[in-house]
Symmetry: D2
Subunit: 182 residues, 4 copies
């Protein structure tokens, strides 16, 4: 696998480009633009996350949470790999879909659930590193639909490499609290 | 969770529609339109699939394979759930991304690898059932880029319900066999 | 432009593939799976289409209409071109977005409007031919959201070439008839 | 049309949200992260843009251009409308597809062409205003594939409203100058 590890994403690598080739503004943290209608949003999001069996199975955890923003972290391991040893694109999708979904859910009313309508994911570099961080940013939060964008970075020695970029549509299910037994 | 199980996807459910509300042609099996350049495509795909640690972790298996087509099966379980108990959208993405990728890989040269450039996934119904079947269909196979579409159905008592639909772009990495140690 | 006309989409063209390299089921006409709640759907769609100034400007017309299905036709001309002389990807998007939107609108109640939430378009071959035909197919029609897929073919001498493929999310705006002055 | 003009996008509008509900970082101009290999990139982009008949037909013009960035402007008018009088989603797609494509093209070698592989567009608000500005930002520029994101804002009295958001994949066609007669 050695050769392909470095070579696999050649298609994306310019020989002659100056690093970093990623436009910086995308990674900026969200401004304090959003006022969550539910002051208990953090406990609500964390309780919902704790009910996602998939997060436990892959070993993902919430790294940061604020109104309109959620970061989910994951340590790459062989059990999550695709055929070349990197983290599978679907596992990358799993953490960034949840990051976007919970970024949106911070802004939803207490008595509601969140549903992913659709998302689109571009894979830009091999998903590897000491850990992956998937960030979801709310772009617009409406009564029925919410639009988010997401980024996944691989972290090595404090240096971030953009490995994936997402655009996502969420739906608010009003009157259905996201809680067991409801 | 009881109420939300049935209610969660109300937004998609018409009160007055005649079943099935899904246009039939989408699920038709692919015609014999593709001639794979590598007669050993099946062994090559199965060996690559076996190297995907993520498939073992979630318990997915290849259900069918032919030129330009791949079906991957998964039995839903709590370890793969989102917050309402259905299979997580990212796990749905994982099986349909692999189904599309291996549908394309059946048509690639022996000395090549497959890379997901991007995909877009719509979630149409709760991902549940006795098993999920993700199907990938090649739409166009080019020298560098290949386009696939995918569907995921939940199966209950032989009845299929469309739970997700995908559109995907793959890249062929020529001269890099998808094999360990290469 | 001569050389690039044939060469531009080389990346998609296999030297050794058997025609057609497109999986046939995608183009099948929709089955009679949908029962439109508004028997006057055809007049309603045609009146709405007639209000789209963009359709007049580019010269597009409705080619076919049935429950859950709409075809829109366009004759390529220099005024609609991108830099190589083919029809611009955005104009291709314009006709297939409308085809998907009106496919959905055939199934909406009389007292409603249709809104495109989002769409994703893959360009597969140069958009050229005697005419382009964009087809929209409803995949699932829900109370709030409707999912469609679309295809655009270039027609030359009765032969169809798939030039683009779309996946789209629509929203039904209930209680707002799609009519002037309402 | 009066009532629906304000009402149509109700689904996206929170009654109780503080303006602006859009996360600010998305609109930041790109940093000087990119070094274009062709110092004549501006003339090359403008010449290519001038060959796009579709841009002339809809009345679009280049508003700004720098390495990895392109802004395209358009004045809304009835000839570009959808059924409610806003600019058609496909016309919005047309300007943001070109903005992303030319953002990428600023970083391509002199002897190359640009091709849109695919894009995904979310519509967030009615496309209206004194003018629309579509911006394309390169996220990653590789040898074969380039990823961009795009935004379209409606401008009224100096105030910007985000009306659409795009994620796009481009391909570099090496050895094929984007010029007439080549």
């Amino acid at each position: 696998m050695g050769k392909s590890l470095g070579a696999r994403f050649d298609a994306y690598d310019r020989v002659d480009e100056a690093p970093p080739a990623t436009s910086p503004p995308m990674s900026a943290p969200p401004a304090a633009a959003f006022a969550p209608p539910d002051p208990g949003f953090e406990a609500r999001v964390r309780a919902s996350f704790a009910r996602q069996g998939a997060m436990r199975t892959i070993g993902a955890s919430i790294g940061a949470l604020s109104p309109g923003y959620c970061a989910i972290e994951l340590v790459p391991r062989t059990e999550l790999s695709q055929q070349h040893g990197y983290v599978h694109a679907g596992i990358v999708a799993t953490i960034v879909d949840s990051a976007g979904g919970y970024a949106g859910f911070t802004l939803f009313p207490a008595d509601s659930s969140v549903l992913t309508v659709e998302f689109k994911l571009n894979l830009l570099a091999p998903a590897q590193g000491e850990r992956l961080v998937a960030e979801g940013f709310v772009v617009k939060c409406g009564r029925t639909l919410t639009i988010t964008r997401g980024e996944v970075h691989g972290i090595v020695g404090g240096r971030r490499t953009l490995v994936a970029m997402m655009q996502q549509t969420l739906m608010t299910m009003h009157g259905r609290a996201d809680a067991p037994g409801t």
